[in-house]
């Protein structure tokens, strides 16, 4: 299986780089590139698998003359690779749209700048209206709700 070693090593390296990118980068776009690297590592692996004899590792390690799969019209690894590339494309498309949305609101692609949803983040608050969203409601707003001017005077502490 020496001939598999190279591609697998390559996949591992790519995956490692990708994970590093995902974990260490602050810029959303760079993080996405990390994700792409990770997916491409998978692609390398899949292509490598596709290059293996039929029956995979099982056939390789099984005693001679052991089982072989039936005729398989699908070239598993390669089909999967194509799928992954497609998914990655869709993913990036969607991701960039969301990053753009973020950039429009915060004028930064830096993920560390937008953390207020995390309960343990310094900018987290449970005080109504304090996070800069008018009325604090979702995209629809209080369509036929009450006058949002009503003051949320008593916010009792719920007993923990």
């Amino acid at each position: 299986m020496i001939h598999l070693f190279g591609p697998v090593l390559l996949a591992a390296a790519l995956a490692g780089l990708g994970v590093y990118g995902l974990l260490a980068r602050r810029n959303a776009v760079l993080v996405l590139i990390g994700a792409e690297l990770l997916l491409n590592a998978v692609n390398v692996l899949l292509v490598t698998v596709a290059a293996m004899p039929r029956g995979g590792l099982l056939a390789l390690t099984a005693p001679t003359g052991a089982r072989q799969g039936a005729a398989d019209p699908l070239l598993g690894g390669q089909v999967l690779t194509i799928f992954v590339i497609t998914i990655a494309a869709a993913e990036i498309g969607l991701a960039l749209a969301v990053v753009l949305l973020l950039f429009r609101h915060r004028a930064t692609p830096d993920l560390t700048e937008v953390r207020e949803l995390g309960e343990a983040s310094p900018t987290y608050t449970e005080e109504f209206g304090a996070v800069g969203v008018p009325g604090g409601t979702g995209g629809s707003g209080p369509v036929d709700g009450p006058d949002t001017g009503a003051s949320p005077s008593t916010r009792e502490e719920v007993h923990p």
Partner: protein, 634 residues
């Protein structure tokens, strides 16, 4: 006839208790019910006695139905025989006298601070009577225990009747708890008998015992355990400490419960189960030793008492020890006679003595110190006369009742000692004789202090100057209080006549002339010693004792302190520790888990940094861990 009379003996006072307490509101209603109930019980008891004497005993009278233990079915039945009938007559007589007496003794409504509480009082006495009747008639020990404990409850309620007095409250609790400790033995004895003999029926047990079919271990254990209950109820050493304190109760209650009936119930139980005890020789020997120690010790303590009721209380302890001794030296199934005879005779004159004590307290406005009664002979000669009869009977002066019954016990002891009763019988005999001397001494002393002396320093002083609390009725004794004294005086004088034609239970009572003579001489010596005291310079023979020893005896050998140190305080400390441990350890662990979950929640929440890539660290770390697990497990 006797069977329905037995049931009525129980039901009439019980009904009186229920109706007097629950239904009516007025005082006279309560009094009428109380007197009628006990009087009815007296009639029923007499009828029962007549019936039993004529038709023979009835062993099973359906009463409370059955008790399905899951294995055997027990019958909670009554029985009627001469033993139960004679004791029932005595109980009903004393009870009736006490109810009549009480209606005057607890006259009026009292003050808001110290109400007389007559209604619950009369009902409780009726309840007590019913309970005692249950004990007397029960053919099943479980049924007997009902009466046994209800008596204890009544005693508790009546001792604490004047519950505004701290001493009365404390004495009530003590009375109940100390007897309850003894009753542990009764409970366990029931358990042992149910397990070992499969029955708690008196008839059944007696039959088994007589046929020798009770296992040796079972019978010995059960008898010893029962003895603990007897010691508690009959105030025998070391569980006697409650009785002197119980004198905080009204005097008629002391007469009924703490002299005539309840304290004798222990002896009655032994007499009832004598065949069982005979099968357990150890138990009888222990009983004899307890009786010997108690009769001597209590008589000695009685000598040093200044309070008349406490003196009578110690004398009761001592006399009940006589009864126990009389039963304990029995050698055959009919040997309970002397003890039971002493029980009957003691009931009459001791009840009378207590009622006299009540009259005296009534006259002087509440005090029970003997010194406050001095000069009675000159102030109230007829009351002094009755007192004299009672004390003489107590000391065993012929031909009064006490003489016959006490000598019967001593004779039985002598008979046992001479016929293989062993060293315990000798102990009993010697202790009994010495106690005769001491009994004479304290009876004579009581007479000397109360009857003698200067009325102006004692009874006449308060006669002139009524106690502010009790108003004017310190001056005369109403008929309701004096008539019962006479009613009781008659049998205390004449009870010896029973021996002319003894009923079956007393058939074996014999008086040995030698012992009787020695006993009487010793009593007379004691009396003489006490009466002679004034000639040697002091009115009270106890003044001859050094102050420290006298106080030691007066306090009942300071056994209360021992009890306090050995039981009460350790239990209190333990209780406080348990309460603290419950709060801080057991519940602390519970609170600890709450703190732990809270802490866990707070810590776990820290991972929510809001940084998306930070979350991926967990994803990959988790994947790595899971992957490792996958490889290792495959």
């Amino acid at each position: 006839m006797s069977s329905s009379a037995a049931v009525l003996c129980v039901l009439l006072p019980a009904a009186a208790a229920a109706f007097g307490m629950v239904v009516g509101r007025s005082r006279s209603w309560a009094r009428d019910w109380a007197v009628a109930g006990t009087a009815g019980a007296l009639v029923a008891a007499v009828v029962e006695l007549v019936g039993v004497l004529r038709d023979g005993p009835v062993h099973s009278v359906r009463f409370l139905g059955t008790l399905d233990t899951g294995v055997t079915v027990l019958d909670l039945d009554l029985r009627a025989d001469t033993l139960s009938a004679t004791v029932a007559v005595a109980v009903a007589l004393v009870a009736a006298c006490v109810q009549i007496y009480s209606s005057a003794y607890l006259d009026g409504e009292g003050t808001p601070e110290a109400p007389t509480r007559y209604r619950p009082y009369a009902a409780t006495v009726s309840m007590f009577t019913a309970a005692m009747m249950v004990v007397v008639h029960a053919d099943d020990l479980l049924l007997l225990v009902i009466g046994w404990e209800v008596m204890g409850l009544s005693s508790y309620l009546l001792v604490g009747h004047h519950s505004e007095r701290p001493a009365a409250r404390a004495a009530a609790v003590k009375a109940f708890l100390v007897t309850r400790v003894g009753d542990l033995g009764v409970m366990l004895a029931l358990v042992v008998l149910l397990t070992g003999a499969g029955t708690t029926s008196v008839s059944g047990l007696v039959e088994l015992a007589e046929r020798g079919e009770l296992g040796g271990g079972t019978v010995t254990l059960a008898a010893l355990l029962l003895l603990a209950g007897v010691a508690g109820k009959s105030a025998q050493f070391p569980l006697h400490t409650w009785l002197p304190d119980a004198m905080e109760g009204p005097s008629p209650v002391s007469a009924l419960i703490h002299a005539a009936t309840m304290v004798a119930a222990g002896v009655y139980l032994v007499a009832r189960l004598l065949p069982v005890f005979l099968a357990a020789e150890v138990a009888l020997r222990v009983a004899a030793c307890i009786a010997a120690v108690t009769m001597l010790g209590a008589a000695l303590a009685a000598v040093a008492q200044d309070d008349f009721k406490r003196l009578l209380a110690y004398s009761t302890i001592s006399q009940v020890a006589y009864m126990l001794a009389g039963v304990a030296v029995a050698t055959d199934a009919a040997g309970a006679g002397p003890g039971v005879f002493h029980l009957l005779s003691h009931a009459t004159w001791k009840a009378m003595l207590f009622l006299i004590a009540g009259c005296l307290a009534h006259l002087v406005g509440g005090s029970t110190l003997m010194a406050d009664y001095s000069g009675l002979r000159r102030a109230r000669p007829w009351l002094a006369g009755l007192l004299g009869v009672g004390l003489a009977s107590l000391a065993g002066i012929p031909p009064l009742g006490g003489f016959w019954s006490k000598e019967a016990v001593l004779s039985a002891a002598e008979h046992a000692a001479l016929h293989g009763g062993g060293w315990t019988a000798w102990t009993v005999l010697v202790a009994g004789l010495v106690t005769s001397l001491l009994t004479g001494l304290y009876a004579g002393r009581a007479w000397a202090v109360i009857a003698g002396g200067d009325p102006d320093l004692g009874i006449a002083r308060t006669d002139r100057d009524p106690h502010p609390d009790t108003g004017g009725h310190g001056h005369h004794l109403p008929a309701a209080m004096s008539v019962p004294l006479v009613l009781l005086a008659i049998p205390s004088v004449l009870v010896g006549l029973v021996l002319l034609d003894p009923p079956e239970v007393l058939a074996e009572v014999e008086i040995s002339p030698v012992t009787a003579l020695i006993g009487t001489l010793l009593s007379l010596a004691g009396i003489g010693w006490a009466l002679n005291a004034p000639r040697r310079g002091f009115l009270d023979v106890a003044d001859a004792l050094p102050e420290r020893q006298r106080a030691f005896l007066r306090d009942g050998y300071r056994l209360d302190d021992v009890q306090d140190a050995l039981v009460v305080r350790p239990v209190r400390r333990l209780a406080a520790r348990v309460a603290a441990a419950d709060r801080d350890v057991v519940d602390g662990a519970v609170r600890g888990t709450v703190v732990l979950t809270r802490w866990g929640g707070v810590r776990l929440r820290r991972a929510q940094t809001g940084l998306a890539t930070g979350y991926l660290v967990w994803v990959f770390a988790g994947a790595a861990l899971v992957g490792l697990a996958g490889v290792v497990l495959s």
